[in-house]
Amino acid sequence: MTERRRVLKVLTGMGGAAIVGTGVVTTGALMAQGERRPGGGATEAWKRVARLDALEQGRPLKVAVIGNVEDAWIRTEEQRIGNVWLLRDGPRAVRAFSTVCPHLGCSIDADDHGFICKCHDSHFTSAGARVDGPSPRGMDPIEARVEGEYVEVRYKRFRLGTSTRTEA
């Protein structure tokens, strides 16, 4: 009798565990697939962001990078995938920096002394180098080139919070 009850206990436990396990495994498997959805703003293509003559030496210009955004099942065309600060170095020389602060990802603004991230007061020089504040590195450079009358960039995102710069 006690033997049969022991078997019954084990069987009940196993049955319950099997039912809960089925739920946990399938739920977990579905929930862990966020990785598979398309997304992100990195792009291999050069994107035209501004006219060259809109850029003035000594005056940074924030421009939007326009591209198609894929977010799981939503595909939106002609959306802002990111922003860059453009700096003009010479007649046909430009540099670009991501507006994403390398600290925690807030948006970097220009001020009288260079650049500042207002979330946590990281300061950068007008050439994008780190001055002080919590940012672990200078502003992230974005590839930029002049094509005819236009400035083009190749937008990328970088890992946050690390002193070395790696692509996200």
Partner: protein, 591 residues
Amino acid sequence: MPTALTNWLKSRLGFVSLLREAFDRPIVGPPRWSSALGHALVWLFVLEALTGFAMANLYAPTTRDAWGSIVFMEQKLAWGGFVRGLHYWAAQLMVVLAWAHCLGVLVVAHHRRPREALWWVSLGTLGLMIGAAHTGALLPWDERAYWITVVEDGIIQGFPGIGTGASRALRNGPTAGTPTLTRMYALHTVALPALIALVFYLRGHLHRHLGLGQSSASEEEVTAIAETRSWPQQTLRDIVVAVTVVALAIALAKAPGAPLDGPADPSMSDYPARPEWYLLWLFRLRKYFDPKRELIATAVIPGLATGALVLLPWLDRTRRKLNAGQLIGASLLIIVGIFTGYSVYADDHDPVVRRGRAGAAVRASAARRFALDGIPPEGPQDLLRNHPSVKPRLLYEQHCGSCHARGDAPLRDARGGRSSARGPALEGFGSRGWARAVMTNPDAPALFGRTNIHFMPPQRDLSASEMADLAEYLYSQSIEPGDPAADAARVRSGDTLFHNQCTMCHQGAGDLTETDAAQREAPDLTRWASRAWIRGQILEPAHPTRYGSTNEMPSFSDELQGRDLEYVIDYVRSMRARAAPSVPPPAPRRE
């Protein structure tokens, strides 16, 4: 109620014992107001469940729809704003109550054995309240929600080892987007309420199991308690506290209501992102650690504090009256209070933060106003840029403003850089005043002084009346339907003057001979400053009937088309109402 029915319900449903479970729990010691805090949490949870269900009927958890669905509910539906306000404020009060409840437990030393589990349930309640309030704060996907998501995701990514995985799990993918919102929505409406219901159930179970006794009660005494019931003295306190707290939530829901920023906009750079108030102390704490030690503020201190609280039943082994638990509780309250208060104070006195907040408030109210016309299918993020009341100006600033700066713009800007203005200032363009300014001194810096166009001499020989006639004639060229009419007599004499004085250079297409066409230097002013003239200037500024070989302005035929082109023309035309740039008298004639 007839006794027969009551008896039937009692026997079939057992509702009396059900009510007794809820309102007549066993207690030890005198009834206490502090014991009512936990009870009020349950009532607030009921309110949250109802208002939350009501909102879940309208809310759509996608980055395109979230903000719009909330604004719709608030603007178009009766009680929409109130229900959301109630849900928001009840949630904030639940966080406060859960804090107070934990402190109350410490004060009466109910964290000590044998009630360790009850203490953990109280801590768990606080954690779940913060989690629920926090996931809820992200759902509107307004500017605040967006930046909180970005920053906290960044903080989580920084945790060594687990950071990347945890961040991806919460984001539900490689970046913050719609699947992040659906995940937060699922946590907020399904998982967290279920866990909250579970901790409430556990609390009831532990109360029944342990009794709400004095901390000095030994385990033997615990089994012997439960002689006193909460009904009616404690129940009275319970319901008084609950009704007071809900009344407070109702008052706060009416004014100020739940906050809502403008829609999330990743391109904004001046938004001063701050965490919700219950995490502000951590935000302030972080400021005291340099980048290499930042983890101390974001992970080590919160981790140690949580660990200390969880292990408190073992850390606190004294039996003294002022126990370690009370000390830890009081110091936590004081430290968190000081840091929160200081953070609020510092932000309120920071001009950069105030400016950022003022800008966000302007965007929020403009976005709400524009949303009344409906939100485009791409979502609300471009509402502020694409609305007909804003877009013309933005397009002008983007495409035209860097050369056609304001007439009073300094030649050097605030940062000492060379001002980029090269074309004439367009304030008043198309007005009599602008025409007069050009006739007076075309080479003024605010007009053509910084261009290559220096062929026109100042019209010194015109009398004031002749200049007024010419200005009237030129104004008459710009008239479109709906504009105020020009003075017909002046236009007639201006027309004559124009054809005598000006058409040597400013020939109309009809006046043009082939030789002229090659040499012409001044634009055709037929229909000057009309929509068609402005359109031609934007698309083909170097056309022979405009500035020809002297032109420096780029053609915008690639960038501006269709609706956008017409918007820019709208804007240039709207500038006629402004005062034309004031020009200095021309340099003395060289004889």
